[in-house]
């Protein structure tokens, strides 16, 4: 394929891609994401390929649409019949009954637990109906290995607009006006951060995509990386144009082999088509992206540690200032954003800031992705407008709590976040209200706890994680988290003593204020928030030698 030299060539190619993708075609869409693969989708895929051999049916492998609990997922187009938990033994029936006679196989349909009724099509599934899919709209709809699919769905149109119809400052202004806030944790306004980096003196600048996603229980980034890598790449090119960067890095954890494979394929395709590299789309703008693989340290998700790691140094954070926008990678001005932040950019540029800011709350605009695990009926990835209530998120999209148990709390933001108990279920989810409750938006990972979860034990679990992942550079985090874990372990073993809770609390407060980086500063959150909302459970362990949830020392 010849490199695209003008926006017109891109438009012409888009038309031919659209025709290729022809929506009325008989097609089986098979989810080939990590979740479905773990449940056997590749066997289903092989069997389907053999069975349809020679017939006029297309098989499309897609990335993860998010409904992981019900995998392997197979969707029959054009009717969009959504089959769940498909195994190899269903393959012939799908071919003969559904493809052959147009009949729906009821045993493969999702049954709505609220009314016991089977749901036939994808768009009617309650899981999707409760969502607003803006960043994830193509997850599950396209083959991430085919750039043509992304192109057909307006892919790289925003890039063409950014390069030809907007100035770099105009790009940044648009992102500022959209009020997009970083989706990697702290929620810093993305456009403002870009502006700092643009204004920083220097000809050589870098943009970085943080795809380290180290939170246990978080996999929103993975679903995007696997299902639609081009959207992230497009966002980075637009950002680089705004900031004036010539080189980009995607720092991705090596535990994500499928995401790495899909990203590599996408990067090569973008380069082949002149969308990445020298003279992008004939505009004279040069920008390239390289992958860097993480080696399994949670702290390397912290921006300064991440940059040290890219430089080949030990993954240890450093104090700020200087901020990355002043002195980042190799001392050059650098801008780092989360996967979801980058993936939000193309639609902001294409549809405008007002469109983006049309949903959300006063201070938190747009949609947010969440991954939900733990005691929940539909573990998986969802995208919802910011500002919906926790109740809507957990009970509508998440399908509620299994086995008739009652909801106890949700850990928001993983090991650096906090727990939110049942009395706050109607709180609108946005950055501010979560912080007020002692939790954080984090990277969108939720762990749901039911009545059988011990909150002290859960706090101990997260403390064990952060203690192990502490790099050990500063004293409060290196030894403070260790002593905190020792006390929690003692309490969970029924050996808590009078004064332990107070010591724990005091230590937690100091580790939070005194630590060098965000890891230490947030590591006490699970303890502090559970002490705030479930202090009685701690007291029962220490004073009555009793675990109210019957989890500890059975």
């Amino acid at each position: 394929m010849k490199k695209l030299d003008t926006p017109q060539e891109l438009d012409a190619w888009r038309e031919s891609c659209k025709n290729e993708l022809d929506h009325d075609r008989l097609r089986l869409r098979v989810c080939d994401g990590t979740g479905c693969r773990a449940l056997g989708s590749q066997h289903v895929l092989t069997a389907l390929r053999q069975a349809v051999n020679g017939n006029n049916v297309e098989i499309m492998t897609t990335g993860c649409p998010g409904f992981c609990e019900q995998g392997p997922l197979v969707t029959v187009d054009p009717q969009q019949i959504a089959y769940q938990q498909v195994t190899t033994k269903h393959v012939h029936k799908i071919i003969s009954d559904t493809l052959g006679k147009g009949e729906v196989i009821s045993e493969l349909l999702y049954v709505d637990p609220s009314n016991g009724q089977p749901v036939t099509t994808e768009s009617e599934l309650p899981y999707y109906k409760s969502q607003m899919r803006r960043v994830t709209d193509l997850n599950g709809q396209i083959d991430p290995h085919q750039i043509e699919h992304y192109i057909a769905h307006k892919g790289y149109m925003a890039l063409s607009k950014a390069l030809y119809d907007m100035s770099p400052d105009g790009i940044i202004e648009e992102v500022i006006r959209s009020q997009l806030r970083g989706r990697g944790g702290a929620g810093f306004p993305t456009g403002v951060k870009w502006k700092f980096c643009r204004q920083s003196p220097g000809d050589e600048k870098y943009v970085i995509c943080n795809a380290d996603e180290g939170n246990p229980g978080a996999f929103t980034d993975r679903s995007l990386l696997e299902a639609n890598p081009h959207r992230i790449i497009e966002g980075m090119i637009i950002g680089a144009r705004g900031i004036g960067a010539t080189e980009g890095f995607i720092y991705i954890r090596s535990e994500y082999p499928l995401a790495i494979e899909n990203l590599n394929i996408a990067l090569n395709q973008a380069r082949e088509h002149g969308l990445l590299g020298k003279n992008i789309l004939g505009s004279g703008f040069d920008f390239n992206i390289q992958l860097r693989l993480g080696a399994g340290a949670f702290v390397c998700g912290e921006e300064t540690a991440l940059m040290a790691s890219i430089e080949g140094k030990p993954g240890e954070p450093r104090p700020r200032p200087p901020f990355p926008a002043q002195e980042g990678l190799w001392g050059k001005p650098s801008n780092i954003n989360n996967v979801k932040s980058w993936a939000s950019i193309p639609s902001i540029i294409a549809n405008g800031a007002e469109w983006f800011a049309g949903v959300g709350t006063e201070k938190s605009k747009g949609t947010a992705m969440f991954s939900m695990v733990g005691k929940i009926n539909n573990p998986g990835v969802v995208e919802v407008p910011i500002g919906i209530s926790l109740r809507e998120l957990i009970f509508d999209a998440g399908g509620g709590i299994p086995d008739g148990k009652s909801f106890k709390a949700v850990q928001f933001g993983g090991p650096l976040g906090g727990c939110i108990p049942a009395q706050y279920l109607d709180t609108p989810i946005d950055y501010e209200s979560l912080t007020d409750l002692g939790a954080t938006m984090g990277s969108g990972g939720l762990v749901v706890a039911d009545e059988s979860t011990c909150m002290v034990d859960l706090a101990r679990y997260f403390m064990n994680f952060t203690q192990e992942e502490s790099c050990g550079q500063c004293i409060p985090c290196r030894w403070g988290t260790k002593v905190m874990l020792d006390i929690l372990t003692r309490i969970c073993n029924g050996q808590g003593e009078k004064g332990d809770i107070e010591t724990l609390e005091q230590l937690a407060n100091t580790v939070k204020t005194a630590s060098l980086c965000g890891l230490g500063q947030a590591a006490p959150n699970p303890v502090l928030s559970s002490l705030r909302h479930f202090r009685d459970e701690y007291e029962a362990h220490v004073y009555d030698k009793r675990c109210p949830s019957k989890v500890c020392w059975k």
Partner: protein, 213 residues
């Protein structure tokens, strides 16, 4: 020139200095451990924390790494700062309470004993030795291995490093005598911490040998 206040005292100074340096020039005491004049600031011990008054509320920062800025309002001895120093001192006592220097340091922030228990070691992981070897000597014959509370200072693979030029800078900058040169008059010397033996030779920088010839 910039003007800032530290503990309500108005101070004029030039740009490009850390809060710690400015404070020390003005006889304002801030405790430190990992800080060393000859080394780049590290921000690891967190004893030098100070509180800044900012339009967006107060902020706790390490004074060794934070640049002094015009109009800054700094407090070195607030309740928050005292409490965090004391807890850091208690953690240090739990680790190395047998070291006189650590006991003195803790006493200077009002701490004489500790409620915590940690595995004992003379090394408090301030990393002065590692940084000196890298920044001053330019060798990196020692480095930090492992992470979190398992951190240790070791030569690569815990064996004598060919990069060591026997300059003993690490010994000089170590505040707790965790690195000691034993048996200086012998023809080999043992660095106890690392259980490795070095044949004595001349320092490749200054050609000074330890027994003076």
């Amino acid at each position: 020139m910039i003007t800032l206040t530290i503990n309500d005292k108005t101070i004029h100074t030039q740009v490009g200095r850390s809060i710690l340096e400015v404070a020390r020039d003005n006889a304002i005491w801030i405790p430190t451990l990992c800080y060393h004049e000859a080394l780049k600031p590290y921000g690891g011990c967190r004893l030098c924390l100070v509180e800044l008054e900012t339009p967006r509320g107060s902020r706790v920062v390490s004074s060794c790494t934070f640049p002094a800025e015009d109009g800054m309002v700094v407090h070195t001895n607030t309740k928050t700062i005292q409490q965090s120093r004391q807890i850091v001192a208690q953690l240090l006592l739990a680790r190395a309470g047998h070291v006189p220097f650590i006991r003195e340091l803790a006493a200077s922030v009002g701490v004489n004993d500790t409620p915590y228990t940690l595995p004992q070691d003379t090394c408090v992981l301030c990393a002065r030795c590692v940084r000196a070897c890298q920044e001053i000597v330019g060798m990196s014959a020692i480095s930090i291995a492992n992470r979190g509370s398992d951190r240790v200072v070791v030569p690569p693979f815990k064996i004598s490093s060919a990069d060591c030029i026997e300059c003993t800078t690490c010994v000089l900058v170590c505040p707790t005598d965790a690195i000691t040169l034993d048996d200086i008059t012998d023809s080999s010397r043992t660095v106890h911490e690392w259980q490795s033996e070095y044949a004595r030779g001349a320092c490749r920088l200054c050609e000074y040998t330890l027994n003076g010839n």
